[in-house]
Amino acid sequence: MKMNVLEKILANSSSKREVVAGEIVEANIDCAMVNEITGHLTIKYLEELGAERVWDPEKIVMVLDHTIPAANVEAAELHKIMRRFAKAHNIRFFYDVGFGGIAHQVMVEKGHVVPGNVIVGADSHTCTYGALGAFATGIGSTEMAAVFVRGKLWFKVPKVIRINVKGNFREYVTAKDLFLNIASMLGENGANYRGLEFRGPTISDMSISERMTLCNMAIEVGAKTGIVEADDKTLAYLKGRVNKSFQIIKGDNDNSYEHSLEIDVTSLQPLIACPSSVANVKPVSEVEGVEVDQVFIGSCTNGRLEDLRIVAKILEGKRVKSGTRLVIVPASQEVYLEALKEGLIETFIASGAIVANPTCGACYGGHIGVLASDEVCVSTTNRNFIGRMGSPKSKVYLASPATAAASAIEGKIKDPTTLRWSS
């Protein structure tokens, strides 16, 4: 029987020769991640259960990332709960303040994700790890407590939508624009319960960073996960980062998909998701001129080195428009350090940007760049739900780092592909 890559991974991890979409399997978990927002509940439940030991301390990763450093007493208490638990249970992979960054970035760059793995995280954007050919999905705190004890979890094998992408991007058109295009095609729940498999020549050409942007946003159309089959690029990325063994798993092909989308990015324009839905997508050129109070560049979607390089290229020698704030947050300490070494941070600060340490912060309306009522923000994050980044009366537009940077300079929403002819 032919199986796609997600079916093969789930079959392997549940010791079955084959599985079909719709079937419920119990899979062995290769790695489980919690952050402080979800992890404190998991810890509380484990205590209620009287669980004395976790199934495998080496397979648990704990990351403090939502409020870094603690911005109030409540956040500090959550950090404390996490620290204590990590110590008590010998969790080696505990990334405290200063040692990690946003969990999804940390998981990938520190080698916790390898092809063929089944990974769960108590955070919806766990689907990001599909970029390295793993099956990864978000779960809640209670299930995570069960995983911490048993190391297994049930999954319904998802139907898979294949997204075939060809063509070369124009300059300043990126993976983010591609995903926004997909979101407008599928709608906010167009892939509910499904897996998304990205493939085709454009995906093969993409860096791991770009693949992460795509897989990260799979949840925004309801998908259980997104995945790109591992290839030479994956292996090159993993080299030096990973010391666990793994196997590359590839799908059999064709008939194991629910349906396919065919996309050619050759003529794709920069896109923007207008308030308050990821599927409310328009070409940036159509909403140009909307005044912007804040631009936020960062998050697990678009806070990586490649994103920051594009931003620096656009900001170089220019100034953020007065009246507009630009907040830039690298996704991890590693990204931060690299950006510093490359001189990107200097470019940002010289242009009038605020650069803050890695944290989820602004992305979920927590701290470092919370929006007031009626304020407009262009953000490189993944959600523009009402009230997501602050006041329920604020408005968030989701866009690529290039569009965000161009908009910061103009003080208005701006298509980056036409930037060089303006002003």
Partner: protein, 163 residues
Amino acid sequence: MKFSGKIIKCGDNINTDLIIPGKYLTLTDLQEMAKHAMEGIDPSFTRRGKDSIIVAGDNFGCGSSREQAPLALKYAGVKCVIAKSFARIFYRNAINIGLPVVECETIYDKVEEGDKIEVDLVSGSITVLDKNIDVKAQPLPKFMLDILREGGLLNLLKKQTGK
């Protein structure tokens, strides 16, 4: 396993940030958190939430994996959520924390805010009291009913491990 309550109706794509905004996620007192349930769209919700049944459109609970979303509804007094469809993480979380969720396409257009309904999880039947309307939804599989009967996965695990 039957629940009855007054309907609170909401539309499509009610996301987890609407159900409980991120800024409240540092709260550890769930009763306190429940006071902010749905406040972004319906400030009167916490007053009306007690003994209610939410009837929603498509994709209820989309967004984050925060279990605080179904918890906030449960602690606000919501008995059950019926939706045309659910986002998958919310659906699993709700079952796991003991908030009954029922998928039903047809009830939405037949009911109004404030109607009194009764939901039978085992048979999947939804009855609008006083209106003589009876709708069949998909009954929940046994293992989910087992979790709900105990009030959540944690209680079930406690029972199984004898704690």
